[in-house]
Amino acid sequence: MTTKRRDFLAGAVSAAGAAMTPDLSHAHGHPHDHDHAHQVVPSDLTLRVKALESLLVEKGLVDRAALDALVDTYEHKIGPRNGARVVARAWADPAYKQRLLANADAAIAELGYGGQQGEHMLVVENTPQVHNMVVCTLCSCYPWPVLGLPPVWYKSAAYRSRSVIDPRGILREFGLELPEDTEVRVWDSTAELRYLVLPERPAGSEHLTEQQLAVLVTRDAMVGVAKVMLTTEGASA
């Protein structure tokens, strides 16, 4: 068989038989524990974006240092640790929790968080009877000030399409099996309201300080695809 024919067949087989076609243009389709390998040769996208940035800088439209500042802010300063502190405060301080549920913007601002893509916040509380899950089926709306930028899975067609029709199936894939009599509420972020899930405080955490509690709270729990556990296994997820 010629190489071309084999490639064509192999491509067709993988397309037809696989539940998930490896997206050849997306090198990050599977879970990794290690850092992503950087390509030796700059990708087409690297070149295209570089060229665009240079054009805009040359035309005086863009200040390169502003781009550096934006990247730095969202890589290092704004992330799920913010939301974890909000959650931990709500667990530790019942009065704060009431304020958070009544007026999330103001309560979150008490901790110094707010702004872009978090101008209109709502906090939804998980209880033994109610489990909340957040999605944006139409694009990728997400509460940046408390969770940072959304992960790839949240923005994926898989999550966007299935979360509203099969939330329990999604939770199962995340390793969370809910009792049948738990009510699942999925919040589709169609407007500028941004949703943060207040997860249930794990049993046995009564002795922990607010800081220790914050370490336990994961991004996944604040989106509503996981519960908070006493171990710190998934603390950075």
Binding site: V13, A16, M20, T21, I165
Partner: protein, 218 residues
């Protein structure tokens, strides 16, 4: 399934590309795919509903990228492997596995008539129709993960039975080899406004052929 194939009512798919004097097959490989599909169907390892569903399972990005016969090809490979006529390894290598006994094709040039009986979906069995011409019906809001011929744009919509076509094989079960479950199929007329809202032309309509199981009284 609510797959990408279920695209009735979608926007953004671009203008209709009308090719003048379009050939039946744009390249020889297309005709080979087409004829192989029919010839292999003669093994009776699958039915037309399963064949359609195999194409629906093509991942959405690929489905949209592929040309028509590419999709037939992808679906055919899936059927061949799932129904155990060929293995994945054989497809990738292009050669039969060692020790395979060569079979005899059931479809030769001499038995073309065989094709007609294979595709006939009507069934000469007695089944009570639940609906009749002139009746108002509503398409059920089903969202099966398997094969169905009730498009999303028509679910939950109310229309009028225009005709009872008779009894046919039911694709939703047949595609999954769960039985033919023959039942009445009706031509149901939906006004365009029922489907698309007040912006649609008031006198326009869409007719769909609906199996009995898809309908409930309105």
């Amino acid at each position: 399934m609510n797959g990408i194939h279920d695209m009735g009512g979608m926007h953004g798919m671009g203008p209709v590309q009308h090719e003048k004097n379009e050939p039946v097959f744009h390249a020889p490989w297309e005709s080979r795919v087409y004829t192989m599909h029919i010839a292999l169907g003669a093994w009776r390892k699958w039915n037309i509903d399963a064949a359609r569903h195999a194409r629906e399972l093509i991942p959405p990005a690929e489905y949209l990228r592929m040309t028509y016969y590419e999709k037939w090809f992808a679906g055919l490979l899936d059927l061949l492997v799932k129904r155990a006529l060929v293995t994945s390894a054989e497809i990738e290598s292009g050669t039969p596995a060692a020790g395979t006994v060569k079979a005899t094709p059931p479809l030769t040039a001499a038995i073309r008539e065989h094709l007609l009986s294979y595709i006939n979906a009507s069934r000469n069995v007695l089944v009570a129709p639940r609906f009749q011409a002139g009746q108002r019906v509503r398409a059920r809001n089903i969202n099966p993960i398997g094969h169905t011929r009730l498009p999303r744009y028509a679910r939950g919509k109310t229309g009028t039975v225009e005709r009872d076509h008779g009894v046919f094989v039911f694709p939703d079960t047949n595609a999954h080899f769960l039985g033919e479950k023959p039942q009445h199929v009706y031509s149901v007329r939906f006004s365009s406004r029922e489907l698309w809202g007040e912006q649609a032309a008031p006198r326009d309509s869409v007719y769909l052929d609906m199996w009995d199981d898809y309908l409930e009284p309105a």
